[in-house]
Amino acid sequence: MLKINQLHKSYKIGDSSLHVLKGIDLSVEEGEMVAIMGSSGSGKSTLLNIIGMLDVADSGEYILDGLPIDNLTEKKAAVYRNKFLGFIFQSFNLINYKNALENVALPLYYQGLKRKKRQELGMFHLDKVGLADWAHHLPKELSGGQKQRVAIARALAANPKLLLADEPTGALDTTTSYEIMEFIQQLNDEGKTILMVTHEEDIANMCKRIVRLRDGVIMEDKAITQVRASQYV
């Protein structure tokens, strides 16, 4: 599904350069649910950004579903992101002047789908996250948990191969966090491959595998017994 070999990335800060990723090897199979953990500055977000094609590695190999990702132009990256990836952000990043349905349907717009088809698919995914009744509400009329569910529906709308979540519960209280995690686990049960960055142990334990980063290298990579979020809810 996803294969990374000897990935390096450094940032220029003034005259010096900061080596953030120092040769990452990672491979993720279809249907996995991986938590990437590490303290701030460990390079976990950089890794997620490179996997999400929002950033480009200096060297190394990245193969997504058999497709080598290199020589990305902005346009190519945009098309790949749209086709292969679904993003979930800590701060939801919904467009505040569009209602829930329009937000969910936005990736489909960039796929060039007809309006009616978009509305249909958008509604389907909103229903899936249990917010069909809220389709015509603006983000400001929704609670934090609802907003994140709309964002998840949006990430799912284009039917991506890989879901990337950057601290998906970072802005939510514990109860809501578990609700969201329960939902993400359901998606994984249905076969979606999920990669998430988090620094919360309890959230990470709800995944099936934890990859720990420190100073740009993988310290630990182990499979765990998944803690079901449903037992807390």
Binding site: L54, D55, A78, R81, F89, S91, Y97, R115
Partner: protein, 414 residues
């Protein structure tokens, strides 16, 4: 790209963006709208001014010069300086026959005289004229006719009087045509009444009588007061004036460099001054109008730049979920163009209404200062085209700004 323009969602996006920023949209639209409004009103007024000048000069052959005799300033061929120069009918014929480019020469005589009608009387300027005068300065006849060849041949005692004379010698609403007035003790029949023109070259004339009749009753023989020389359209009136004067100096034995011997007034030069002034006005109008337009368009660019900055995160998100840079840029540029277009249409409508108001107030009546102030459709379309081009150009700046921030930076948590 065509698909982009005809996609309802493109416009939905645009509408959302505009609706979200009502105030800034209004302010920018006001800026550009005011620019094009000014351009239209200024251009229309300049046109109106030109029209009114043309109407004033319209009755007047503009390639015309008046020449009359004065006193010599230099001794020549045994003559003392200060000798009086008198033009004659022969001079007029000579100029007409010998100077290239002369269309025709109209000799004129003029003097003040007492005119009576019954108990009413007044002193008026009377001119002895050829029928040809009508070609040089078109007489606006209210009643009757101007002098004709028959009057000339038979030295008929007829008069064409001005409205002022009519008012002084006739009762209100009294019929003037066919009535008699007494000039220099001789009865003249009134055959025409004319309206005094706004523009007059030469002395003001109150009534015209046939040249031949004038010769006879005032005992002028071959002498003429002055001559009006009209050049053919393709000839330069200044050159014709020079040539004619040189010829006249030759025949009257006047030093070729004598600048006082003949007086002249060149209507062409006066007219050229006015047209030059109008040209300057028009240039100024374009300059001011386009400068205002550019300022307005820059305001749109500026505001779009701010909006793009405000929406950095949104644009980052859109790119993360699959918007290509081209799609983002097109949207921003389209917004610039649409704002420019809406603004210019509003500006054009209000400009048109203002011109109509100007026309209804300052554009009516014979003494109107702005006659039919208007702007041609071509000019309006040109202005629109310029605006669209400027809109695209100015939209490019915020468009590139919008895609210059990497989505990862745009989405980074504060």
């Amino acid at each position: 790209m065509i698909k982009f323009l005809f996609d309802g969602d493109t416009w939905q996006e645009l509408y959302d963006s505009i609706r979200k920023n009502k105030l800034r949209t209004l302010v920018t639209i006001f800026g550009v709208g005011f620019g094009i409004f000014l351009l239209i009103v200024l251009l229309g007024s300049a046109r109106g001014m030109e029209n009114s000048f043309n109407r004033l000069f319209g009755d007047f052959a503009t390639n015309t010069v008046f020449v009359w005799g004065q006193r010599t300033a230099k001794p020549f061929k045994g003559f003392q300086e200060g000798r009086r120069v008198r033009l004659t009918l022969d001079d007029a014929y000579r100029v007409e026959d010998n100077i290239p480019g002369v269309e025709f020469v109209v000799p004129r005589n003029q003097r003040g005289s007492q005119v009576n009608r019954g108990f009413l009387s007044g002193t008026f300027q009377i001119a002895g004229d050829y029928p040809l005068l009508d070609k040089v300065e078109k007489k606006k006849l209210i009643h009757g006719r101007f002098i004709n060849e028959n009057d000339m041949k038979n030295k008929r005692k007829i008069a064409v009087i001005s409205e002022d004379v009519y008012k002084q010698l006739f009762e209100k609403d009294e019929k003037a045509i066919g009535e008699y007035i007494e000039i220099n003790g001789i009865n003249f029949k009134v055959v025409g009444v004319f309206k005094v023109s706004n523009i007059n070259m030469g002395p003001p004339i109150n009534m015209h009588i046939p040249f031949t009749t004038f010769q006879q009753i005032f005992n002028q023989a071959g002498r003429i007061g002055w001559m009006v020389i009209t050049a053919k359209p393709e000839f330069n009136i200044v050159q014709v004036e020079k040539d004619s004067k040189l010829l006249l100096k030759n025949t009257h034995k006047i030093h070729p460099d004598d600048r006082r011997a003949f007086g002249s007034a060149n209507a062409g030069q006066q007219f050229a001054k006015v047209t030059g002034f109008l040209k300057g006005m028009q240039f100024l109008t374009w300059f001011v109008g386009i400068a205002t337009l550019i300022a307005g368009v820059f305001a749109i660019g500026n505001i779009l730049l701010i909006t793009v900055k405000e929406r950095t995160k949104e644009i980052g998100l859109r790119r993360a979920i699959g918007a290509t840079p081209l799609e983002i840029k097109s949207q921003v540029i389209l917004e610039a163009i649409v704002l420019c277009l809406i603004a210019s249409i509003i500006g054009i409508i209000f400009g048109g209404i203002t011109l109509m108001i100007i026309n209804a107030t300052a554009g009516q009546g014979p003494d109107a200062t702005l006659v039919n102030p208007s702007v041609s459709i071509a000019v309006v379309l040109a202005a629109l085209l310029i605006l669209i081009i400027l809109g695209v150009l100015i939209g490019l700046i915020p468009a590139f700004k919008a895609t210059s921030v990497k989505p990862i930076e745009a989405l980074r948590e504060e």
